[in-house]
């Protein structure tokens, strides 16, 4: 009888002892805001990816006689733009490019920035100074101005705007990565690992990365919305996407002339940018609190 009781205790202990990431995942799935935001992003993203197979109208096919129809027009649920193209179709198709512009530079900057920041934080000394002071140079410029300047130098085009956005987001990620790594590397368990004779690479892999990736990832997520807005801004200025390619920022730009004629339709691409960035921001906020567990 007693042995059974002990076994039960063991089982319950075994169940209780989840890994850190399992605990975080559980907390995430139990947060209604997180679930709602993730669903919205998932919905928009899957619609964008599946756009060509959804049986929508041609996003490039305009009609001079059906320009700037209001929302709710028969056959055009979200109206038409200044060239008479179906807004719903274009908004969904635009999601492909806009989401890509929001995610790709941040993902690339996350990889590069984390690598640089962790190395700077762990190695310290002169290397740290070299990396961090170089990063500071980029900090001297406001991010919008920097993105515009780099895009301007490289020339208009999607690839160049992706590149300029990546360069803009590397410095803040390096800073966060460096500061988190510095605080972790001064903890006793890193000293204990060094005292056991482990090399720098092993310590970084086993003891540092697991403790710094979470906070850096959360920070990077919060940059996605900024990146989308910045990307939209570049397109708006004519430095990113070129017409007739559908993209939210570019659509906002071309529709601005219609703002007095049909303000509701003109605002739609802005609404999309707003919804997606709010969702990414709430998501990163939720992740921050979900990761804020002891252990």
């Amino acid at each position: 009888m007693i042995e059974i009781a002990i076994d039960l205790v063991r089982i319950s202990h075994a169940e209780k002892s989840r890994g850190y990431w399992m605990t975080v995942a559980r907390r995430l799935t139990r947060d209604p805001v997180i679930v709602a935001c993730a669903s919205i992003i998932l919905l928009i993203a899957s619609a964008a990816i599946l756009a060509p197979w959804l049986g929508l109208a041609n996003p490039y096919q305009g009609s001079m006689i059906r320009r700037l129809r209001p929302i709710g027009t028969a056959g055009y649920p979200l109206g038409t733009d200044e060239l008479g193209r179906d807004m719903l179709t274009r908004l969904i198709h635009a999601g492909r490019l806009s989401l890509f512009i929001g995610l790709f530079p941040v993902a690339l900057a996350f990889v590069i920035g984390t690598t640089l920041g962790v190395i700077a934080g762990y190695v310290g000394g002169l290397l740290n100074q070299a990396i961090m002071r170089t990063i500071d140079i980029f900090y001297a410029f406001p991010s919008v101005l920097l993105a515009v300047a780099i895009s301007g130098v490289l020339g208009a085009g999607i690839l160049n705007s992706l590149l300029s956005l990546t360069i803009v987001f590397i410095p803040p990620i390096v800073r966060v990565a460096e500061s988190v790594t510095t605080s972790v590397r001064n903890l006793d368990f890193v000293d204990a690992a060094r005292a056991s004779g482990a090399g720098a690479m092993t310590i970084m892999r086993v003891h540092v990365l697991g403790n710094v990736l979470g906070p850096i990832f959360v920070y990077a997520t919060s940059l996605i919305s900024v990146c989308m807005i910045l990307g939209a801004g570049l397109s708006f200025l004519g430095l990113g996407t070129k017409p007739p390619e559908p993209e939210w920022g570019l659509m906002l730009n071309t529709l601005r002339t219609a703002i007095y004629v049909n303000p509701w339709v003109a605002a739609l691409p802005g609404v999309m940018i707003f919804i997606v960035s709010i969702c990414f921001n709430l998501l990163s906020d939720g992740m921050r609190s979900a990761m804020d567990v002891r252990g």
Binding site: R10, D188, S196, G197, H207, R294, G295
Partner: protein, 349 residues
């Protein structure tokens, strides 16, 4: 333990008579940066420290906070590089005959903060088996070793192996830290305030565990603490540090019975007594220790010493044998030739 061939304890080199650890003239300075000026000075954290630890002995180290105890431990284990001085481990000079990597298998350390010294993302099992894995033990053998060590420190592997540090109590975590330190079969374990953060009942359990492990595994300890009662309970020999220097060294019972340095006497007098008739009425040492960036000339203790005279602020006393067996103190009073008016006289209460 037969299955753990790659990490068999390092062989005894010089026999029981040879000291396990000999430290000669060990010094470490830290630069202090002051604002825009590059260097405002240096902290002499450890300044010309020499001592010897015999095999299977517990060497206690006491002193106020900031006197260089922890820096000394980190120097001995090679976590920071010394500016000057030699460390000889069982007859083999570190950095010469003995590589740093090999030294770290022979010397391990238990840190004060039981929480900060465990990686929160690793299970207990992974934490303990990390060292053996680094030293090329096969994963399943390292695992078996971790379980074995958990049993040794009195924790059931079935209950604890898969758990995370935050799920454990402070005492349990410190047992894990001890198991981790023992995972590489060290011969010398540095206990840097290892029990200071624990409450008294848990502290006693951990101390007894440490003494048991010492007997079972033939370990040698350096026991660093500011708690004199605990040091007396644990140590065979004790050295007293003040501002980066050793001021007195003796067997524990000799030190408590016949302390020769005024600082040691003050420390011992500062121990709270539970006997109401022996209440401490006046502070034995006044004020804080002087700034280690610019330590006083001569004897570093002369600014607070009740017996300080002119000679104390000009001439630095050296650690001299008192005549008792391996008892040494660095005080002019103990040296008849020093010129101190009380030189050669014994302290009278």
């Amino acid at each position: 333990m037969s299955a753990v061939e790659p990490l068999a304890p390092a062989a005894d080199v010089g026999g029981p008579g040879q000291p396990l650890l000999q430290v000669r003239g060990l010094s470490k300075q830290f630069p202090v940066r002051g604002g825009l000026r590059t260097r405002a000075g240096v902290v002499r954290a450890v300044d010309g420290v020499s001592f010897t630890v015999n095999k299977r002995e517990v060497m206690g180290v006491v002193g106020e906070s900031g006197c260089g105890k922890s820096t000394m431990a980190r120097l001995v284990i090679g976590l920071i590089a010394p500016d000057k001085g030699d460390i000889v481990f069982d007859g083999e000079a570190v950095g010469d005959v003995l590589s740093l990597r090999d030294l770290r298998r022979r010397v391990q350390m238990v840190f004060q903060d039981s929480y900060a010294s465990l990686n929160p993302r690793l299970t207990i099992e992974d934490t303990i088996s990390f060292g053996p894995r680094v030293h090329d033990l096969a994963p399943n053998q390292a695992r078996a070793r971790a379980h074995d060590l958990l049993r040794k420190v009195g924790l059931d592997p079935a209950l604890f192996a898969a758990r995370y540090p935050h799920e454990l109590s402070g005492g349990q975590r410190q047992r894990i830290n001890i198991a981790r330190a023992l995972a590489l079969s060290p011969r010398l374990v540095l206990l840097d305030e290892a029990v200071s953060a624990l409450d008294k009942s848990v502290e006693a359990q951990v101390l007894n565990l440490l003494l048991e492990l010492k007997e079972d595994l033939g370990l040698t300890y350096m026991f660093i603490s500011h708690d004199l009662n605990v040091v007396r309970f644990m140590s065979d020999r004790v050295m007293v540090m003040y501002l980066g220097e050793i001021v007195e060294e003796a067997a524990a019972e000799v030190l408590w019975a016949d302390a020769r340095h005024p600082y040691t006497r003050a420390l011992l007098a500062a121990m709270p007594s539970l006997d109401p008739d022996r209440r401490t009425e006046t502070a034995p040492v006044a004020g804080d220790p002087p700034n280690p960036i610019d330590p006083p000339a001569g004897c570093r203790f002369h600014t607070r010493c009740p017996f300080a005279e002119a000679v104390c602020s000009t001439t630095k006393p050296v650690l001299m044998p008192t005549g008792n067996d391996r008892h040494a103190a660095a005080c002019h009073i103990g040296d008849p030739a020093s010129g101190h008016s009380r030189a050669g006289r014994r302290f009278t209460e």
